[in-house]
Amino acid sequence: MFSDWPLLSLVIWIPVLGGIVVLVAGSYTNSATARIIALLFSIITFVLSIPLYTDFNTATAAMQFTELSPWITAFKINYHLGIDGISMPLIILTTFMTVIVVIAGWEVIQDRPAQYMAAFLIMAGLMNGVFAALDAALFYVFWEAMLIPMFIAIGVWGGPRRVYATIKFFLYTFFGSVFMLIALLYLRLESGSFSILDFHAFKMDLDVQILIFIAFLLAFAVKVPMWPVHTWLPDAHVEAPTGGSVILAAIMLKLGAYGFLRFSLPITPDASHHLDWLMISLSLIAVVYIGFVALVQQDMKKLIAYSSISHMGFVTLGFFIAWNILDNTGKLDGAAMGMQGAIVQMISHGFISGAMFLVVGVMYDRLHSREISAYGGVVNTMPKFAAFAVLFAMANAGLPGTSGFVGEFMVILSAFKANFWFAFLAGTTLILGAAYTLWMVKRVIFGDVKNENVAKLQDINNREFLFLSILAVMVLLFGVWPAPLIEVMDASVANLLQHMMQSKL
């Protein structure tokens, strides 16, 4: 029934429109109305994104729900939207997390709540745009425009060092992106079109491919973020308001990984193959080294931020071991599993890291401290909360039965087919991840009540229970039954591997 609706346009523009309405409502009515309008718009967007899943044809790798109309004819730029099995789950993740963020910011944000809600709604629309864009210029517009609301969100509602953190965030991302712009313009001039699908079919020399790959890498590596361009992330996470951290971790980091899937791998497969050693090394450094860095953090948000970088290392590892696996086994099955594992990891990390930041946010709202040492024995005063916290911590550590396990397991398994040492190093995350997460849980949640502040803590209210339990359900659901997720991406991943294995010299 939805087949003739422009669903993708709706999930992009309804939240943007909602943001404008909330802004207007915020200046003429009280903030309660603005909140309700924001919630309404976020739920409408989420509901509209569900048919993208139910009406999705899993048998094909072709773009679905496509919309195409000329936009800027002078530049030959089209308003071209479409999704495949890789971008569809990410769009639903975005619309879902936006609802969570709106609920999570409900009473917490007292300073200009309408602007807060508007920033997140507009951001959601723009991020959906990034995932749905099939025109490179349109992609770039969404990609950069999204920085503006995030910049404002961190800067206005952030912590004490928010200005430093948000300017660092903006400049890092802007720095990476402009090189991508040059690469896109080059591709446009050589191929005569801005369509990403035309780029996929375009052939280039290896040295040109390498330059373009590096330009893309600068943009996407900053966003993922990969070691050594990750330093903006801990700062941004620590200073951002809870909602900002959630969106950053759950969606924005995925944009970088998505960029690899949509641009680097299919457009410059030979350069990717040529430089896969570099990507694998950077990924493994992220997994192992950043894992150790996470271990020594004193600040809970910083710890989760480093844990995010480490987990995203798995994602990039899953992408770039494909050639090694093919060389060793001669078959694409292992490569497909690595790729799927990486994408599952993206989605699962979206839920888990979002949940972890919300957990920290719940505590921060009460004690206004993120220091691990300020807490201890929270379970005694907040038992319901402690149950959630432990569950999400287990998921973050990759415990079987939670969604965190599925992706990591698939990536490690396929890494074995590439090289034993890759798998070995990647596998250390199971130990490291468990160590830093559970050690934090031990110090914060368990033990005796540490001080009188903790003794006075109130357990979570219904609103907090609501969003934590929804996330808990998602984490467990994808942990025991990831099949639907893997099913929708199957054809698209196979198609992507086809592109990667075909030389485009």
Partner: protein, 479 residues
């Protein structure tokens, strides 16, 4: 020798502006200070009239008159229309400011109109003499306007600096022109361009070119001939800065196009090198030095220098689409610059000039709407999509890459990253800092409406830049 009566109709808008400027000059003498708004209204009506005169007769072909020293082509018409619009907005923004500063006299508007006339002559010039005529008419009015607030030390200093440096630049320009004339034996640009390949003494020609470029670079404010820009922007009354930073950029760009493309295209290889140096230096110095500024007018001055660097990138490609991209860039820049200085005027009030960065502190608390407008303008200047400034940068970069100068495009984007920092600082001041000054904004309704239109135009044209781009392209390619 037979004498032909030139086709006066082609210069009808110029003659209209000249007549009206003279009438307003006399009319203003008989108007009391209380009714000064009549002078303002008449000046605005003049611009509207000229707008329709030009629009009604919008060229589709190239026509010459006055012995080929005057050209009327689509490019000149498009530029003139934009000059009227810019001047209209300038007068509107300036009205409140002049009132607050007890400068609401007829001179501003009369001089402004003469300046518009000078720009129109520059835009339509097709001989070295006409170019110089238009340029001097514009420059002299600008010198006078900067000194309009004669009791202000800073304004007088700025005017003096502007005058002396401007005179040197004009001298350079004239010297270059005399060399060209000496080599080619003509002042007509079309004849010069025919002569260029046949000239034996290329050295003299290139020397002439270099002196011409010095003059043009000075008028544009490209590094290393930019010294006057920060001082004049800072010292002049904000209303005058607003004027200098907007329409004259279009005229200076027109002068560049007439000289280099209509006249000296045969020397493309030579002037391309010069322009590359000017562009890279302008983007570099402009963006880096802007970071250190605390006065927003000075900061916009350095930002203007960096934008000029970007503008030159399109011209130096030497292709029609490159020129179109630069035309698009200059129009975009004028729109953003109008908005930026308009915001400074909006925040100013009697006895208080909001020209320091800190005067924008906490604007989001004082007035979320105008903070949003400023946010749009600033992000547009920084080149962040979806605002108009992004498309301007994109079109210029695309042409640079199309001319196989990827390294130049990379240099340009690196400098624009550096530039992003000081733009972000304005946003930071407006949004992240707490307001110290909670006094409400005072300004007239038309000013509010215009600022809003200005900001929204940057957004809306940014979402649909196709038509403006197509217009620029057709202005360059047809005729």
């Amino acid at each position: 020798m037979n004498f032909e009566v030139p086709n006066m109709m082609l210069a009808l808008p110029e003659m209209f502006i000249l007549t009206m400027a003279c009438i307003i000059l006399v009319f203003d003498l008989f108007v009391s200070d209380n009714n000064r708004v009549l002078t303002y209204g008449l000046a605005q009506l003049t611009l509207v009239g000229a707008f329709f005169l030009t629009l009604a007769d919008y060229s589709t072909v190239t026509q010459f008159t006055f012995n080929n020293s005057f050209i009327r082509d689509p490019m000149s018409d498009l530029m003139k229309i934009c000059i009227y619009l810019a001047a209209f907005v300038v007068f509107l923004y300036a009205k409140d400011y002049l009132r607050q500063n007890k400068m609401f006299k007829g001179e501003f508007f009369v001089l402004g109109l003469f300046g518009v006339l000078g720009m129109m002559v520059m835009v339509s010039a097709h001989s070295l003499l006409t170019i110089y005529l238009g340029l001097e008419l514009l420059s002299l009015t600008l010198y006078a306007m900067v000194a309009l607030k004669r009791d202000s030390m800073m304004a007088s200093e700025a005017a003096m600096k502007y005058f002396v440096l401007g005179a040197i630049a004009s001298g350079m320009l004239l010297y270059g022109m005399s060399m060209l004339y000496g080599v080619t034996g003509t002042l007509d640009l079309a004849e010069i361009s025919q002569q260029v390949p046949q000239v034996k003494d290329q050295i003299l020609l290139v020397f002439g070119l270099v002196f011409l470029m010095v003059g043009v670079a000075f008028k544009l404010g490209a590094v290393p001939f930019h010294m006057w820009i920060p001082d004049v922007y800072h010292g002049a009354p904000t209303a005058v800065t607003l004027y200098i930073s907007s329409a004259p950029k279009i005229a200076a760009f027109a002068m560049l196009m007439r000289l280099l493309v209509d006249g000296l295209y045969g020397l493309h290889e030579q002037w391309q090198g010069i322009l590359i140096i000017l562009a890279v230096l302008s983007m570099g110095i402009g963006n880096i030095v802007a970071i250190a500024q605390t006065n927003i007018k000075r900061m916009f001055a350095y930002s203007a220098i960096s934008h000029i660097g970007f503008l030159l990138l399109g011209v130096l490609t030497g292709t029609e689409s490159g020129f179109a991209a630069s035309l698009f860039y200059v129009l975009t820049y004028v729109l953003m610059s109008l908005g930026g200085f308009g915001m400074i005027i909006l925040l100013s009030r009697e006895g208080f000039e909001a020209d320091k960065l800190t005067d924008f502190t906490g604007l989001n608390e004082r007035s979320p709407w105008y903070a949003l407008m400023m946010l749009i303008l600033i992000f547009s200047m920084a080149g962040v999509p979806p605002f108009l400034g992004f498309w301007a940068k994109l079109s210029v970069l695309k042409e640079v890459i199309a001319s196989d100068m990827v390294w130049l495009a990379v240099t340009a984007v690196v400098f624009s990253i550096i530039g992003a920092f000081y733009y972000l600082r304005i946003i930071k001041i407006m949004y992240f800092d707490k307001a110290e000054d909670s006094s409400p904004l005072v300004c007239s309704v038309d000013m509010r409406a215009m600022i809003t239109t200005n900001g929204l135009l940057v957004l809306v044209i940014g979402l649909f830049p196709g038509d403006l781009m197509a217009l620029c392209l057709s202005a360059i390619t047809t005729g």
